[in-house]
């Protein structure tokens, strides 16, 4: 995918900057005082339990929720002045495509380009080539004429990623891309995300399954009760979880023991499935991994 160069963005402007930002509905904030900067090209995993406000934050960036406070800038432009929404490529969580009528993979991916051209203009040869390329990026180039409703859940998820790519966005926002997807498709999805990360696409990935994104994520942001509760590298996050786990265990016996076991667990989970995975990048940590196992023993 080509990262768009036609738009006027200061080269050093972060993709996203939140300063004491609050998002919510009808003037009522659900998340408050969020500070976050996403540099261009970075891949961020956004974690947090249900109701922690991560969806509210993401939907706020997408203009689906109201910004009720603070300042939010996307590529240096204030959120409420952002006219070109196609710079954000949205990959929804649910398979929200209506299955009530037939539609091909190409027809669905093509809709990703609609917002970037005036209503009277039809798709150009260039647009169609971009659609084909987007399908190729997610490994569905051979299914362009297939009926979307007949594809598997993981394949449909990749159609949604390709649809977001079709508008040639500067940043992808994905909601649970790997949830409820079988192992073979998770592998393909991980390959696709790794490919995009290598191309320098900025990504904000809401997820519960950090293990599936091993080696792709640069940074982890955890939210709880409408606030950011952790922000750091995957390695730091592993330590953070270990500390939380130790704190929880300190009332019980064997805090040190549990910590040691817990690191061992990481090593077992960690296996190279990507050629360019740097050895220091330890991101195979699902929120349900390590600490819980350590506590059980």
């Amino acid at each position: 995918m080509r990262v768009s160069t036609t738009q006027h963005t200061p080269a050093d402007a972060p993709a996203v900057r939140l300063d004491h930002a609050a998002f919510g509905y009808a003037g009522r904030p659900f998340t408050e005082g969020i500070n976050l900067a996403v540099p261009q090209g970075e891949v961020i995993a956004l974690l947090g339990p249900n109701g922690s406000g991560k969806s509210t934050l993401v939907r706020g960036l997408l203009g689906l929720n109201d910004q009720v406070g603070g300042t939010v800038t996307l590529f240096g432009t204030p959120l409420d002045h952002l006219t070109d929404r196609s710079r954000l490529g949205y990959v929804p969580q649910r398979h929200t495509l209506s299955a009530s009528v037939r539609s091909t993979v190409r027809e669905v991916i093509s809709t990703g380009q609609l917002a970037s051209r005036p209503w009277w203009r039809r798709a150009s040869a260039n647009d169609r080539a971009t659609v084909t390329k987007a399908a190729d990026t997610v490994g569905l180039a051979d299914r362009l004429d297939a009926d979307v409703a007949t594809l598997s859940g993981g394949q449909q998820r990749r159609v949604l990623i390709a649809r977001a790519l079709a508008s040639q966005p500067d940043m992808l926002i994905m909601d649970e891309p790997t949830a409820g997807v079988d192992a073979a498709n998770q592998d393909v999805l991980a390959t696709v995300l790794r490919r995009l990360a290598r191309l320098g696409v900025t990504m904000l990935v809401v997820t519960h399954e950090l293990a599936a994104l091993r080696g792709i994520v640069d940074r982890i942001v955890e939210m709880d009760a409408g606030r950011v509760s952790f922000d750091g590298t995957p390695l730091q996050y592993a330590e953070h979880r270990a500390q939380v786990s130790r704190a929880a265990d300190s009332g019980l016996a064997g805090a040190d023991h549990s910590g040691a076991r817990h690191h061992l667990a990481f090593d077992e989970h960690h296996h190279d499935d990507g050629p360019v995975e740097s050895p220091g990048l330890l991101s195979g940590v699902g929120p349900m991994d390590g600490p819980v196992e350590g506590k059980d023993s």
């Binding site: 929804p92 037939r102 490994g139 051979d142």
Partner: protein, 324 residues
């Protein structure tokens, strides 16, 4: 010249049927997609109130019906957008209020044996005048141009509203556009099939088209084809069989749907032996997956050991073994 074409009123009727048969399914496919198949009925109910006001004022009922249906169409979207639990009830009040007011007013003006009422409820295609035909022609052209131009946008707004909104499309405006298109279609169709049967002509040809088509574009074309076939065929049949045109058109549309559904079931059964699902394997075939890709008619097989796997929906089929 066939007998049917020697009558002026039948020529008008056939032209009106042609127009309605083409535009009703064209709009209807988006209603099917939004699972709002019955909204046309509701707007038809309100259109009757408009007809009644037109008769009361001794005016053009088509104009007042158009105004009433369009206003109701906008109201439907506004009520839906507010997302209140009471929205459903608000729609019911509006729809049934419309048809009740229509019946009361028309009977008050025409007396209880009103032929006018029946002609609007069940259609009276043979009374289509040249003037009506002009109005229908203009309205049909508007529907055709708007639907074809906004086809992809309406498809996205109906198929994935949240994504459409996030990508910056004016979803509310698109939904209102669809609602107004539906209202206009209702008014164009009311003389042909009647206000109580309008939804059938918007929905049933699409139900048939969904059986045969594999893409949205093809489904649209098939639906228009089936719509024209049932509308024109219905008028011809009703002329020779001396039946009510509106009902005949809808029965013919349903007949086409049933025949096609049965034919597709037969085709599926007849080709079932050719469809063998491949063994499960924890690997997704695709370009560059490491398995040799072999073009096979309209798809690509992947060489898996000594046999070929062909993608079929979410799984793979066994296609013939390789002998070489």
């Amino acid at each position: 010249m066939p007998e049917i074409l020697s009558f002026d009123f039948m020529r008008n009727a056939l032209l009106a049927a042609l127009l309605v048969g083409a535009v009703a399914p064209l709009v209807g496919i988006f209603l099917v997609q939004r699972r709002l198949s019955l909204i046309g009925d509701g707007l038809g109910h309100v259109a009757l109130a408009g007809v009644a006001v037109g008769i009361l004022l001794d005016n053009q009922p088509i104009i007042t019906a158009l105004i009433a249906a369009v206003l109701a169409g906008v109201a439907v979207e506004v009520i839906r957008a507010r997302g209140r639990a009471s929205g459903d009830i608000a729609l019911a009040v509006m729809f049934y209020g419309g048809i009740a007011a229509g019946v009361v007013i028309i009977n008050r003006v025409d007396g209880s044996q009103s032929a006018n009422l029946t002609s609007y409820l069940f259609g009276a295609i043979t009374t289509t005048s040249r003037g009506d035909l002009m109005v229908f022609g203009v309205l049909s052209a508007v529907i055709l141009v708007v639907t074809v131009t906004l086809r992809q946008r309406l498809f996205l707004a109906a198929g994935d509203e949240e994504y459409a909104r996030a990508s910056g499309l004016p979803v509310m405006a698109l939904n209102i556009t669809l609602s107004v298109l539906t209202a206009v279609t209702v008014v164009v169709s009311m003389r042909v099939v009647g206000l109580l049967l309008i939804s059938a002509l918007m929905i049933v040809p699409n139900a048939a088209a969904q059986q045969v088509a594999r893409s949205f574009r093809a489904a649209t074309v098939w639906a228009v084809l089936f719509g024209v076939l049932s509308a024109v065929g219905g008028v011809v049949t009703s002329f020779y069989a001396d039946t009510a045109a509106g009902g005949t058109i809808v029965l013919l549309a349903i007949g086409i749907f049933l025949v096609i559904a049965a034919a597709m079931a037969l085709v599926t059964a007849a080709t079932a032996h050719r469809h063998r699902v491949a063994e499960r394997h924890p690997h997704e075939h695709g370009p560059g997956c490491g398995h040799e890709a072999i073009p096979h008619d309209d798809h690509i097989d992947y060489l898996h050991g000594d046999h070929r796997h062909a993608p079929h929906g979410g799984h793979y089929d066994e296609h013939e073994r390789v002998t070489r």
